[in-house]
């Protein structure tokens, strides 16, 4: 006879998830169909109007573009750096344990704290960055530099996360493969290209999922550094949604924005999961 006690055991988890995830999600979806501005006692069902308005909202497209750019550039850099550093610390050397611990420091600092720190580093007048470069670049105030300064801070902060995952991935590759390759006369690049990289693929995909999703929702680093400025050149979708929801109290339109962020993030994860599934089917 089938044991159906399982349902009972999972019920608390299901109830909890419904309460903290499904219900708020459904409520945000519901709100996004309204023109809701509490200040003005406006709460009117308008169907998909918020979404249609978004299509013509230049500020939304600008935020989407910024978000996509930040995600793409910072995830690519983090991955490249992360793999490089992981390979380096995977070699035997003295103080390896210390180096491994030190690498984690940026990741351990709360984002807001590290963003504040970067704000000082990028200070035109008394910042370390300009001091080291001997330049007078207006990092956070120039439309070109500001977004790159934000990417830089984000890369510094989250590369350690990539390093640790990749490093873990390297541990499970059997030593014998490298030895055999070397016997066959393969050079270091060939070994990396033909053995390390293919075997790291599943881990890299996992890293990409986590990092892309996080980067796409980026808020605190940029908000602290620039507040979305200058002239919205660093405003991301999350910052725009925050301003709509909590500064101007447009709950309907703000919710629609949040739903779009959710859909984008969902789409990204579905793509990655598909790739991952194909990978493991191999």
């Amino acid at each position: 006879m089938r044991d159906d006690r399982g349902t009972g055991f999972t019920a608390p988890a299901v109830v909890l998830l419904t309460l903290v995830t499904a219900y708020p999600l459904a409520y945000v979806l519901y709100l996004s169909l309204f023109r809701k501005m509490v200040i003005f006692d406006i709460s009117k069902f308008i169907g998909a109007d918020n979404y249609l308005y978004m299509l013509h909202d230049a500020r939304f497209w600008n935020a989407l573009e910024n978000t996509a750019y930040i995600t793409l550039v910072s995830v690519a850099l983090e991955l490249a750096l992360g793999v490089g550093i992981a390979l380096l610390i995977n070699r035997p050397f003295r103080l390896k344990a210390v180096a491994r611990a030190l690498i984690l420091v940026p990741w351990a600092i709360p984002t807001v704290v590290s963003a504040k720190m970067w704000e000082w580093i990028f200070n035109t007048d008394s910042g370390v960055m300009n001091y080291l470069l001997g330049a007078r670049i207006n990092w956070l105030g120039s439309p070109f530099w500001a977004i790159h300064a934000a990417v830089f801070a984000d890369v510094w902060k989250t590369t350690p996360f990539v390093v640790i995952l990749i490093y873990a991935g390297l541990q499970v590759i059997p030593r014998e493969l490298f030895l055999a390759a070397r016997c066959d006369g393969a050079g270091p690049w060939q070994i990396f290209r033909r053995i390390t990289l293919p075997l790291l693929k599943p881990v890299i995909l996992v890293v990409l999922i986590f990092r892309s999703l996080d980067a796409f929702r980026i808020f605190d680093t940029v908000y602290v550094l620039t507040g979305g400025g200058p002239a919205n050149t660093t405003e991301t979708l999350s910052i725009y949604a925050y301003k709509l929801l909590f500064q101007t109290l447009q709950f309907g339109y703000g919710s629609a924005m949040a739903v779009v962020v959710f859909l984008c993030v969902g789409l990204i994860s579905v793509l990655y999961v598909k790739m991952l599934a194909r990978e493991s089917a191999w």
Binding site: I39, D41, D125, S142, G227, G228, P230, N232
Partner: protein, 426 residues
């Protein structure tokens, strides 16, 4: 898990839930009312502020004040109030509000009407700017607590050295700054707040107003005017043409400017009154060298400072409105206003305090402040203000950083503001 440990855990959980719900209850056994007072971080010595609250408790033995400090960022304070008031929370009774929030909160019906506490006869005791900010549809929704306005700080020693006087006009400011800059190495001329945030709006409006410009007029945008375009272009020219403001002003907030000026590296600074106390602190590089005056205006116009400051209101859902009114009455009384001015450097919202001999003795530029506060203007007192400022911030920032011309920025802002007013008014 054994039944026993389960039972223990369940009872622990129940106890904590009970405890949590009890702490929301505001009467304790002795019949004392606990009044929750939310406010931002107290600039200066908190212990002094506490003394003032203690004094109130001694005068009203049946009321106990629990003051709770909100994060120092005003955006976060706004967010806290919005979430809780929208949720009809009765967890706090008295709240302190930035000048720009009162019409918004009043429009939403979150504030108790306090017209009774401030009869028309008493309204003239306060400065006109804050009174305008707390009035919505002829009813009073908050009481001005303390007041702020934009000021011009200057290096009195350097102006003396070159035989110059503090400027009355913006053109004068440019001219004098350049004279000092050419004589002193590594000096900036004029620092102000140009990061994309609320402070940028305050700074920009001061330039607009001191050129006769406005943001709103007769229920629609009046921002796209030749006066405003000229003023905005002038701000950009401070950086790119006259080069008396360094490009870093486009990322500067109040503290950035205060540090540069406080380090002796700028001739002029636009800032709020708080900076004076910090600049005159022991160990400050510019101690005794700082002068303060009204902001300049464009030639032939009148200077106008942007009004800042905080107001006290009562949560509509509070169950202790009577006690809350007592506290607000106390905090806006001459006695408390004087105490706050002396101990913390808060500028009283009561006009009569500026004739107080003790205060005049302790605060050298008090007399001058009176004139500035009398003419200070609130940012458009409108329930739509938070949306309007969200439109203005990126547009002004775009004009300063050269992404748009001042003309384009103002046209775009005007279009968006009219759109907002249209949508909401419908």
């Amino acid at each position: 898990m054994t039944t026993r440990s389960l039972r223990i855990m369940t009872s622990l959980m129940l106890i904590s839930i009970l405890a949590a719900s009890c702490s929301g209850e505001k009467k304790d056994g002795s019949g004392t009312t606990v009044l929750v007072f939310k406010h931002g971080k107290i600039a200066g010595d908190y212990a002094e502020f506490k003394k003032l609250l203690d004094r109130f408790e001694r005068q009203n033995p049946d009321i106990r004040i629990k003051d709770e400090i909100l994060p120092s960022s005003t955006d976060e304070q706004h967010q806290f109030y919005v979430i809780n008031l929208e949720g009809k929370s009765a967890d706090f009774d008295v709240l302190s509000m930035d000048v720009i929030w009162v019409p918004e909160f009043a429009r939403a019906g979150w504030l108790r009407d306090m017209s009774g506490l401030l009869p028309p006869k008493r309204r003239g005791d306060f400065f006109p700017g804050p009174m305008r900010a707390v009035t919505y549809h002829n009813r009073i929704y908050a009481v001005p607590w303390y007041i702020d306005a934009g000021l011009l700080y200057y290096r009195a020693d350097l102006l003396d050295k070159y035989g110059l006087k503090p400027p009355d006009t913006w053109e004068e400011l440019v001219r004098t700054a350049r004279i000092v800059m050419s004589g002193e190495r590594g000096m900036y001329g004029f620092v102000w707040q140009g990061k994309q945030y609320e402070g940028l709006v305050c700074n920009t409006l001061e330039f607009f107003w001191s050129n006769g410009g406005r943001v709103l007029g007769r229920g629609k945008a009046a921002i796209d005017s030749p006066e405003n375009a000229q003023a905005l272009a002038f701000m950009k020219d401070l950086i790119v043409k006259y080069k008396i403001s360094p490009p870093l002003v486009t990322t500067a907030v109040e503290e950035t400017c205060r540090r540069i000026f406080g380090g002796g590296r700028a001739v002029y600074m636009r800032n709020w009154p708080y900076a004076f106390k910090v600049l005159e602190r022991r160990g400050s590089a510019v101690r005794g060298k700082v002068g303060v005056s009204e902001l300049p205006a464009f030639d032939g116009r009148k200077p106008r400072s942007a009004l800042g400051g905080w107001q006290l209101g009562i949560n509509r859902y509070s169950r202790h409105a009577r006690e809350a009114e007592l506290l607000i009455g106390f905090l806006s009384s001459p006695e408390a206003q004087k105490f706050l001015a002396l101990a913390l450097g808060y500028n009283p919202a009561l006009k009569s305090m500026y004739r107080d001999p003790d205060l005049r003795l302790a605060r050298p530029f008090f007399e001058r402040l009176y004139r500035i506060f009398m003419s200070a203007r609130p940012r458009p007192a409108s329930p739509y203000y938070m949306m309007i400022t969200q439109v203005m911030q990126p547009e002004f920032s775009a004009a300063l950083t050269g992404i748009k011309s001042p003309q384009e920025a103002l046209e775009s802002a005007s279009r968006q503001i009219d759109h907002l007013l249209g949508v909401v008014g419908r």
